[in-house]
């Protein structure tokens, strides 16, 4: 096949059937903010463009049995205008506000940002600290993948050819209100990040009860910093602990040099970003 084709299914069932038949010949598209540049640069060869942007049942933000559930084709603008996200899930709201620019946010979807699996995927970082789980479907049924297990490498995911993300869910915990997110880019808007961080921190009598740290653009995949988290747990907060944790962060990240920043700078600034988020949430 050497020509692109296009199809605009009306139901989720229809998408899954087409995926079953076409497998890797199909390319799911929604916002297209990544796909069209890939087509232009011939990174994507001629395929069937399977447009899921018209599937209403995949566009929602809702609460369900103690979880917050977000449909795969929910746009970044939808997240920003959602009262639930703004009031109950601050870390995701902050990342959505820093995402690209308003016109791209009107098109780009949360499912697309994750499936693209860029090490700089801005939605992945808050969702990693929220312990998000992806609901993934195919004609063979539904399965769940922890977001921390989803990214296998740059642009590589645990999705099979016939599967798609249908929903992203995480526990609607009161602690989610207190997370903090920082995106460091070369400019404020439309920047691919130099480094990003999301932190959720729960304290009990000046001791770290729970901590979740995720960073973007500092490793081949969006990364949860489990080693630094383990180091911090149950420890009493003081300046010495913070200094040690900053060093742990710098040990745990695994950045590369590229046109935006050097490896050395990224490693250094990872510690700085951690310090800023930690101080923000402890002061």
């Amino acid at each position: 096949m050497n020509q692109f084709r296009y199809i605009f299914p009306k139901t989720k069932e229809e998408i899954l059937k087409i995926l079953e038949q076409e497998k890797s010949e199909a390319c799911i598209v929604a916002g297209c903010s990544n796909v069209l540049p890939y087509i232009k640069d011939k990174i994507i060869p001629p395929k069937l463009l399977l447009d899921i942007s018209g599937i209403e049942e995949l566009n929602y933000i809702k609460k369900n049995e103690g979880n917050l559930c977000i449909g795969a084709t929910t746009t970044i603008s939808d997240l920003i205008s959602s009262k639930i996200i703004r009031e109950e899930c601050s870390v995701l709201y902050q990342a959505a506000e820093d995402f690209a620019d308003p016109t791209v946010r009107n098109r780009a979807t949360i499912g697309g940002n994750l499936t693209d699996a860029s090490p700089a995927a801005d939605m992945a970082i808050p969702l990693l600290v929220l312990d998000a789980v992806l609901e993934v479907e195919s004609m063979n049924g539904k399965r769940e993948i922890y977001l921390k297990d989803f990214f296998l490498g740059p642009r590589k995911t645990a999705l099979r050819d016939d599967e798609m993300i249908t929903s992203i869910k995480f526990k609607n915990d009161p602690i989610n209100k207190q997370g903090y997110f920082i995106k460091l880019g070369l400019r404020q808007s439309m920047a691919i990040s130099v480094a990003t961080i999301a932190l959720i921190l729960e304290l009990e009598k000046n001791k770290v009860k729970d901590v979740r740290i995720a960073m973007g653009s500092i490793a081949p995949i969006p990364l949860r910093l489990f080693k630094t988290e383990e180091f911090l747990k149950s420890k009493e907060i003081n300046d010495e602990l913070l200094e040690k944790a900053i060093n742990k962060v710098r040990e745990e990240v695994n950045p590369i040099s590229d046109i935006r920043a050097s490896q050395e700078y990224r490693r250094y600034v990872s510690g700085v970003l951690f310090k800023r988020t930690f101080e923000k949430l402890t002061n």
Binding site: F8, P37, K40, Q188
Partner: protein
């Protein structure tokens, strides 16, 4: 070349034409005579191809033409049919918010969509609203002032075409 027939409304007029499956909305619009939509980076960075689709500002270079099927599109040429659009055009002229002019169609569309939703923004909010639109003459100050002037008047007129 074969293509898929699509039907959409552009600046209030129904258009039926064929689109290629992988064609961007930008290319489709320009090939059908809407050359006021400018082609810049073609990867979603510069914003000069910004149009309004169903009331939202979008970058037409990173939208498939097929995805505009059944939608309502407003381009810079359609602004003159609208009170707010005309006001923005006049304000850009008054403030000298145009140097080479290449970013202007995109700037106007981003500003129009934003003011429709937020009639009384401050200058910081305006800067944020046009943050996806690059001006390489770096005349941002005058562009922001031009948009702010329109916002200040809070110019709202009934009977705009509904895009």
């Amino acid at each position: 070349m074969e293509g898929y027939p699509i039907e959409l409304t552009i600046n209030g007029e129904k258009i039926c034409a064929k689109a290629q499956p992988e064609q961007s909305l930008l290319k489709f619009l320009r090939e059908n005579g809407f050359t006021e939509v400018k082609c810049g980076c073609e990867k979603g960075d510069c914003g000069t191809c910004t149009v309004i689709m169903n009331r939202k500002a979008i970058k037409s270079c990173i939208t498939l033409a097929m995805q505009a099927n059944g939608k309502e599109i407003l381009t810079a040429k359609g602004l003159e049919k609208q009170a707010l659009g005309r006001k923005l055009q006049e304000s850009f002229v008054k403030y000298g918010a145009i140097q080479c002019g290449f970013c202007t169609p995109g700037m106007l569309m981003a500003a129009k969509a934003y003011l429709d939703e937020n009639p009384e923004p401050n200058k910081g909010e305006i800067r944020n609203a046009i943050s996806g639109n690059l001006c390489r003459c770096t005349g941002y100050k005058k562009i922001v002032e031009a948009i702010y002037d329109v916002a200040e008047e809070n110019y709202r007129v009934e009977g705009d075409i509904n895009v």
